[in-house]
Amino acid sequence: MDFQLLWFILIAILFIGYFFLEGFDFGVGILMPFISRDDVDRRVCINTIGPFWDANEVWLITAGGAMFAAFPHWYATLFSGFYLPLLLILLALIFRAVGFEFRAKVNKLFWKRSADHFIFWGSLIPAFIWGVALTNIVMGLPIGEDMNFTGGLFGLLSPYAILGGLASTTVFTLHGAVFLTLRTDGPLMERAAKVAQMMWIPAGLLLLAFALLGYRYTVLFDGLGLIPGTLPALAVLAFISGYFLLKMGRTGWSFAATGATILFGTVVAFEGLFPMLMPSTLNPDWSLTIYNASSSDLTLTIMSVVALIFLPLILGYQIYSYYVFRKRVTRDSIPTH
């Protein structure tokens, strides 16, 4: 196996980790204002992700660093090309983090309402833009001969890309709803479960539309027949089974199922792109591929050694952290002031 392929897979894993983990805390942030009945409910929601959200975000930071090291041209083209969308994501993540960390620091209504807005919009905006951005990548972008993006902001906002954004937002929200069902108790948990059940149909329709139109608009299914293969089938299967698992009261498994939907969906995107990283619509030869965008073999070798040492370690202590905080967050665990 060549190192370019290994790093393509590793970066895919980092994005899967990011969408899986931050996906549910985006969902929690989006749902928090709607399923809470009072301030304590809101704090319960926030505290379900309290110990995790920051580490979840590090998956994105690491993906950024790994892209820089392994595929510098990908890093350079993607983030200079998606300049303003990325700016919006960054600002949203800033406000969101500040909302989480500082909300309980001042016991004033205005302060808490502001923090609620930061958390809601700071979760909704990135959840949407990541979908739009990924959709644009799999649609292909106007990339010139010098590897630079030549399009404009509004070219990124095609109806299909917006459909992608809506799909990602809905799926993350659903994922978050199941997570809340898993991590809270009492009436709050019941409301979360209800929201989750209600969301399955719209999420399913959006995903279906996105997948079917994908034949027309994206490079994902090029060269495939009508039946695209195992991975999309697994995504569909996971999505549908999640609904029934939740109805059966198997919340943990249902959460695994929405997670698996995100996992397989991301895998489909990366696999469909392979060996391209960013297809060019101007000239197929100008596309960024894992070979023409990569670092030297020496860099990739060193990075591989580092990743193979640290990724298991990271998974180990992150799982430990989820294990420590495995109990449901209850209303009486929230300080009174």
Binding site: G50, F68, P72, Y75, S80, S296
Partner: protein, 465 residues
């Protein structure tokens, strides 16, 4: 302004702002860990109170460091795509390792520390804060490795217009890293030390739990005294390295236009960059030669000669950095560094005389000194980064060749305005919160209501959101 200037301004604003919080995090994380260790070892409740008190302040500061750090990870690609293409092979490695080795550890164990007061054993809880402190400082090592390579590129070869890695060990052991990394990290310790000292002094001055805050002041005094001395010695090593590896930067730091042998150290000068001269100079003879080479009669090259040398080597161009900024930033940094040493040792003497908790003028001085390390840190950073101009990678890539060609000036205006506004807002929030949480001090033990609230928060999660 052109896109290039805007991109430079944006990078300067966001990086200096990020670097307000980072050094404080480096030092404060270690100090909170030390104080908690005292609690663990002695069982003295006062150390527990101090841990919670400074821990809350630490979290506020840490949050600002994180949110401004996310921007840093991506803005090389956003604004400096050509730079990213050129250096990715090398620069990306420490960045990725930083995330893998440090950021994950830092964020996961901070979560465990914040929410684990009642769920973890005391030992594991203590270990968590130590891992946060270690991870913060590890991240500094890796990012400084990346920066050191921009200052003194090693272990590379140019292949197809890009710098490709040829020797990873050379990058790990870059002589520049070995002087720049300790200097920067230890300056962070001084920043954290003066923060704890300043706040402890404020509380002693106000008569809040004087005996408790005397303890944190004592810990921070020892910490700051050692760190401020080491900052000076490592800074000296770094300057000596700069003489060898970046003579142009050194000449700018000294406002030295003409080569001198023996070279004098400048105390004051009005710098006229246009006419390439300095006026009203006050100079200490022989001093620069001594500082630069440990030899009173050695030669130190001036800006004009170095400019001629560089033109010969790299072709026509202006290779002189903005001398005035570099010259004065250097003086501000060194002056403040010296002041920090004086303050720390004054404090040690007062402690020795048993007057640490009663000397109010010193409390006031410490409260003032709390704000100064940020000025010194930014000044030091300006010397390093502005002194390297016009290069982004010294001798290899000009800053003007690193900027993103596909990003329009209008986009950068938008982002720069947004960052400036948001960061301004964040600064206001952070200062407000630090004051809000620092000012009440620690509730008195005799105070019944204070005790009650502490008991309540012991059952619930004290650091819950």
């Amino acid at each position: 302004m052109e896109a290039l200037d805007l991109a430079r301004w944006q990078f300067g604003i966001t990086t200096i702002y990020h670097f307000v919080f980072v050094p404080l995090t480096l030092g404060l994380s270690v100090l909170v860990a030390i104080i908690q260790t005292f609690w663990y070892r002695t069982g003295d409740e006062r150390y527990k109170q101090l841990t919670k008190y400074f821990g809350k302040l630490f979290v506020i500061v840490f949050t600002l460091g994180i949110v401004t750090g996310i921007v840093q990870e991506f803005q090389f690609g956003m604004n400096w795509s050509e730079y990213s293409r050129f250096v990715g092979d090398i620069f990306g490695i420490p960045l990725a390792i930083e995330a893998l080795m440090a950021f994950f550890m830092e964020s996961t164990f901070l979560g465990l520390w914040l929410f684990g007061w009642n769920r973890l054993s005391k030992g594991v809880h203590l270990l968590s804060i130590w891992l946060v402190a270690i991870a913060s400082n590890l991240s500094a090592i890796w990012i400084l490795m990346a920066n050191s390579w921009m200052q003194v590129p090693v272990g590379y070869e140019i292949v197809g217009g890009r710098a490709e890695l040829s020797d990873f060990v050379a990058i790990l052991l870059n002589e520049r890293l070995l002087v720049q990394m300790p200097h920067t990290i230890i300056a962070g310790f001084v920043t954290g030390g003066l923060f704890v000292l300043g706040i402890s002094a404020w509380m002693m001055y106000r008569g809040n739990q004087v005996q408790t805050f005397k303890k944190s002041a004592q810990i921070a005094l020892v910490f700051t005294a050692v760190a401020s001395l080491l900052t000076a010695t490592t800074g000296h090593s770094q300057a000596q390295d700069t003489v060898q590896s970046q003579p142009m930067k050194m000449a700018a730091m000294e406002g030295l236009w003409e080569t001198e042998q023996p070279a004098s150290f400048s105390l004051f000068a009005l710098i006229d960059q246009e006419n390439k001269t300095s006026m009203r100079e006050v100079r200490l003879p022989y001093m620069l030669s001594v500082l630069a080479h440990n030899n009173a009669t050695s030669e130190v090259k001036g800006l004009n000669e170095l400019q001629a040398e560089m033109e010969e080597k790299y072709g026509e161009g202006n290779y002189i950095p903005p001398v005035k900024t570099v010259y004065w930033s250097f003086r501000v940094m060194v002056g403040l560094g010296t002041l920090f040493i004086l303050i720390a040792f004054t404090g040690l003497i007062l402690w020795w005389k048993g007057k640490l908790e009663t000397t109010t003028w010193f409390h006031k001085a410490l409260m003032g000194a709390l704000f100064l390390p940020y000025v010194a840190n930014s000044a030091g950073w300006l010397v390093t980064e502005m002194g390297r101009q016009p290069w982004v990678v010294y001798g290899l890539l000009l800053t003007s060749d690193g900027v993103s060609p596909s990003v329009a000036g209008s986009s950068i205006w938008i982002s720069m305005a947004a960052f400036t506004l948001v960061y301004g807002f964040l600064a206001a929030v952070a200062v407000f919160l630090v004051v809000k949480y620092a000012k009440p001090g620690i509730p008195k033990e005799s105070d019944k209501s204070g005790q009650d609230s502490d008991e309540v928060s012991d059952k619930a999660d004290a650091f819950a959101y």
